[in-house]
Symmetry: C2
Subunit: 251 residues, 2 copies
């Protein structure tokens, strides 16, 4: 089994996707928010790229069943129900609802991965569960960093290294590409305190300036849930093993 | 002053080049070979992309003044005078001559950087001199990893981290992009033995299989020379401070 990492969010060479299980990471904060929403009982998350597209998708769903979430410039979008802070996605807000989510980096990344055999959504909250699910599948793995504004995001590369390290524990022998080794060795520098990778990163520093230190602390929490969301046909649903508060996929 | 790193050898966004000093690294082995050739007295190195292009460029230069060098699949090209092993570039072979060089990764990378304000050629052999030259220039720096076959090469990212760490010693305060921080933190894992980054990398392992362990040891040698080659109009010449055996640029 091989682990590869997409360090930079360029659309990958299609050959790097064929037959692969892809784990998408946007640690600050889109994939953390998606995992949180599903952990708190949301039925599904629909990632969209544009703000108006979000409104159009939401308008096609039954009233009262849908919430609009997302950010631009790290802040809630005008007229949207929720921002991109995972702490806003409380059980009271999201249980039983579908979230239409648009973010600057993470939801775009999800759109570029259509050629993959399978797409999972990862973050520190479900790190161990994602690694176990990927190892059980037996496919070669590509960890895709959503990055920031088309470039490298330190916290995503460190997170990718954490996934690779977790995979090594459950899927040995695992061969690593050079990109996977870059991520895993980098993770070793930050393993004792992944929150430091947030404080060292441009994106983390922006969130700190916006007063979102609590978001950073939450995003660094490990193994809070067993939920491993999967993205199929553009819809993200909680995959097995579902967490206790999940109400399962919508009919 | 800012340091950025191009981790993957995609042609960079032109905006990342404007006004920048770019340091190109292809640690195994093209930039090590270029620095070695100039250190041993070659007058200039002309990087070309295609094998036939190399022959055509060489044919336009005066007979007896030019050598053809380069590799495909890490091996010498049929009919070429030299391969891509820096150890072949002895003073006896190269002194006073112009080298036309084609390699799989490094010479291609040089071609994508035409928009930069200034291009230097770096490797471990001239690490300190490159950092001092870059710091003295005062421009923002982009360290460009040639990578391997269009993807990430571990040894180049570690080398880029070594350049960033060396820059920090002579150009403080230096602000780092996330990509620069990825490289510098990764370098810390390998700083005690950069040769380990070669043994961990796919490219280094290929060279070991080909019996080129001595090349790896040579490419890991630090600060063997003060020569800092610069690439101007497609020709690489030894820039100041020239080493003692350099005969200067051709007329």
């Amino acid at each position: 089994m091989e682990a590869d990492v997409l360090l930079v969010p360029a659309p990958p060479d299609p050959e790097r996707l064929i037959g692969r299980l892809v784990i998408v990471l946007d640690i600050l904060r889109a994939t953390t928010t998606i995992v949180t929403a599903l952990m708190r009982g949301a039925r599904a998350v629909i990632p969209v790229v544009e703000v108006e597209e979000g409104r159009a998708v939401a308008a096609r769903l039954p009233p009262g069943t849908v919430l609009l979430g997302g950010e631009r410039g790290s802040l809630r979008i005008d007229g949207y129900d929720l921002g991109n802070s995972p702490r806003e996605y409380t059980a009271e807000m999201v249980r039983g609802r579908t979230i239409v989510l648009t973010t600057t980096n993470g939801t775009r990344m999800l759109r570029t991965l259509a050629g993959a055999a399978e797409i999972l959504v990862g973050c520190y909250l479900n790190l161990g569960a994602v690694a176990r699910t990927a190892a059980a599948g037996g496919r070669d793995v590509l960890v895709a960093c959503a990055g920031r504004l088309g470039g490298v995001a330190l916290e995503d590369v460190v997170g990718a290294g954490a996934v690779v390290a977790a995979l090594e524990e459950v899927a040995a022998p695992l061969s690593l590409t050079d990109a996977a080794r870059v991520a895993r060795e980098l993770y070793r520098e930050y393993a004792a305190d992944v929150g430091r990778s947030f404080r060292d990163s441009a994106h983390g520093q922006e969130l700190l300036r916006l007063g979102l230190a609590e978001d950073l602390a939450f995003c660094a929490t490990r193994d809070l849930t067993q939920i491993v969301p999967g993205c199929v046909d553009g819809v993200i649903r909680p995959a097995a093993p579902p967490g206790p508060v999940s109400e399962g996929p919508p009919a």
